[in-house]
Amino acid sequence: MSAALDTVCVQLGTDGGSRGDLWRWVFLAGLSCVLMGAFFLNLALGSVRIPLSEIATILTGGEASKPSWNYIVLAFRLPKALTAILAGAALAVSGLQMQTLFRNPLADPYILGINAGASLGVALVVLATGAATGFLSNVGLLGDLSLIVSAIAGASLVTGLVIVAARWLRHAMTLLILGLMLGYATSAVVSILIYFSVPEQIQAYITWTFGSFGGVTGRQLMILAPVIGAGLLLAGLLTKPLNALLLGESYARSMGANVRRVRFWLIAGTSVLAGAVTAFCGPIAFLGVAIPHLCRSLLRTSDHRVLMPATMLMGGLVALLADLVASVPGSRTILPLNAVTALLGAPIVVWIVLHRDGPRSNFAS
């Protein structure tokens, strides 16, 4: 089986050969360097202006001239930057998996309704419980922890349904419709909750839907990081069957792949990745759809053995840059993350995809 899949992979490279391979390795190495650069930029820039020399002192374990700076860099900016890399990578990879599984360029990590499930969980906690509190009473009263727990509960519920369905449904398309319908049903419940809520609660809910990396603390990262690590590892193991799936489920089956088992692991992996990110950072849109397209266009390939690491790196990089812009270095306020990712990212992706006229060749269908 593995030999047959390898042949498929070679066929997928559009301009194969050693020159293309070299370009891909250079690309991946370059991307890693840029990612490191962006990581340090995120540590150095923020609302509070801290001199670069002080940043270096703090990162090498020294005491800054102001004690609050140590806390800001190590306990706030560092977990935020790490969260951005992990979340960006997770969403981009799960987007790639879903686009290939459903052979649909518009698929994203939330296509199975995970986002809707998490939103419902959070809406139930934020909108329904606060109804009894007084006028102008207190928004954000529910701690971040309760938001995380409710988002996980909601996402797990939907994920469970989808995974159970994935075990006995024959066609991936049926799953797609199931996820879509679950999404509609949960957003309907959220609408009803919003309708009966006071403005302050709605504000608290909307703030959650904006997404953010800064809410994740060091201790929460201890949970988030291993979960995403496992999901990314699983994705790495699935690159070969993904390549086979590119040619269609029946073709993959004829190549000897156990399509149903592959589908199950793809869905489980995506659910874990997207579910964890949504629970800790809110529903972060755009990255999941755009990054796979961006990588396919830049690398001119659909080979998941290259696409997978490229998507991870690119996802982390774009998330870091978006977070950097959202924190508006030098100003005391911050912008909603989702608005920044889409506003800045969309034109870039459009330009690259149009420039390279990608989509037609991206899905070898």
């Binding site: 007084g134 102008l136 306020t333």
Partner: protein, 417 residues
């Protein structure tokens, strides 16, 4: 003899008719005097507003509102008095409002003035009231008009024991507010007046819906005021509808005097003795801090504290990044939060472990405004707190400078152990 007799009879007859004329004349005079007396009685000026009655004989020369209210701190509304009507203009129905609302309050039993076609013309004193915010409940209670309350937005928000009794006795209905207001119940109740809160996002406002349904509705948005005393003065807005202008004036003067007496005790403290104060809470990675022109900023300054965002020029809360707040408030002395669910510092930690990085947290100087919560989770801070600015100030002084008010016991604020 016969002749003599006839003369006597005739003169008698003449005497009788004269007598009759005199009696008639006297009667006429008496009636005239009586009428004149009655007239004179009504033209004597009123000494009090009619708080429970209507005028039976209208006289255009009488001032029907001898007791008047004048405004000292409130910037969001104005009052003008005329003989049988008063004009209330709410100039700040919500923050940064472009429109204002004018209400013509006519003494009942007197004719409405001409030329106010575009305003609501409301007969006062109103006999039944619906309030869509508990901040208005303390007004009614203070003005002795709780018996006129027929409905409220949400029962669960009510703290006042007296109002709770009326709810238990089924005398106060529940009608909701905003887009989910129960219009049918309201139409059925036919209240003389509904008091609603204005909101800068139109979809949350209750007044357009009510006005379209022909229900008199006034906007009472004390929260737009940048000072605690300004907020309390909106008591007068409720009072003018009850003709309790005089009572509200006296009550508010008392609040002002007590507030200023407290403020005077910390006024001359040297800056070095003024602790640094901040507030708010973290929502994801946004920290909402009360603006430097908010009533919280004013309250802290009046209580002899330094509000860390006093240089800011916002009345509402400002969204700040965590970094910006930590940089400025990390080593502040006191933290005032307003979270209904926090009773101890461990509750803060459960919400977000970053709170532990603040000095005020480490040194156990965190205070919350939820000292008076009842079993329905209603917070009296938003109810009687509205009309006790002096007690609120005393609370904050007691927290910042306990030695100045050794006898005072905290009423609205709670120390979080």
């Amino acid at each position: 003899m016969a002749l003599l007799l006839s003369i006597v009879v005739r003169s008698n007859h003449r005497m009788l008719s004269a007598l009759r004329r005199i009696v008639f004349g006297v009667l006429c005079v008496l009636i005239l005097v009586g009428v004149a007396l009655v007239e004179a009685q009504t033209t004597t000026p009123l000494t009090q507003n009619l708080t429970r009655a209507c005028v039976e004989h209208y006289d255009p020369h009488i001032d029907y509102f001898p007791e008047k209210a004048t405004l000292a701190y409130a910037k969001g509304f104005t009052l003008e008095y005329f003989k049988n009507y008063k004009i209330l203009t709410v100039t700040m129905p919500w923050p940064n409002a472009k429109e204002s609302f004018r209400y013509v309050l006519v003494q009942c039993g007197t004719p409405a003035p001409e030329g106010f076609g575009d305003s609501q013309v409301i007969s006062v004193p109103v006999r039944s009231i619906v309030i869509l915010s508990t901040t208005h409940l303390s007004h009614l209670e203070l003005l002795g008009a709780l018996d006129r309350l027929v409905a409220i937005s949400t029962h669960d928000n009510v703290y006042s024991a007296a109002a709770r009794q009326r709810i238990a006795a089924d005398q106060v209905a529940e009608v909701g507010r905003g887009p989910s207001i129960n219009l049918e119940t309201l139409l059925d109740l036919r209240p003389d007046l509904v008091t609603a809160v204005g909101h800068d996002q139109p979809q949350y406002n209750s007044h357009p819906l009510l006005q379209n349904a022909g229900i008199h509705v006034v906007i009472n948005s004390e929260y737009v005021e940048p000072t605690l005393l300004g907020r309390s003065e909106w008591l007068k807005l409720t009072a003018v509808f009850l003709n309790q202008d005089g009572l509200a004036q006296r009550l508010f003067t008392g609040m002002t005097q007590r507030y200023q007496a407290y403020a005077a005790r910390v006024e001359n403290l040297p800056t070095a003795q003024k602790p640094m104060v901040f507030g708010g809470f973290l929502n994801r990675d946004v920290w909402y801090v009360s603006g430097g022109d908010s009533y919280i900023a004013q309250l802290v300054a009046d209580a002899g504290g330094v509000y860390l965002w006093a240089d800011d020029r916002h009345r509402a809360s400002i969204p700040l990044s965590f970094e910006a707040v930590y940089e400025r408030a990390g080593d502040a002395d006191f933290w005032f939060t307003s979270n209904q669910d926090w009773f101890k510092r461990a509750d803060l930690l459960a919400a977000n472990e970053r709170y532990a990085a603040f000095k005020a947290f480490q040194e156990q100087r965190v205070y919350n405004n939820n000292a008076r919560l009842n079993e329905h989770e209603a917070n009296d801070y938003w109810e009687s707190g509205i009309v006790e600015p002096d007690v609120q100030l005393a609370d904050v002084i007691k927290i910042l400078h306990p030695e100045i008010l050794p006898e005072h016991r905290l009423k609205y604020y709670r120390w979080l152990p």
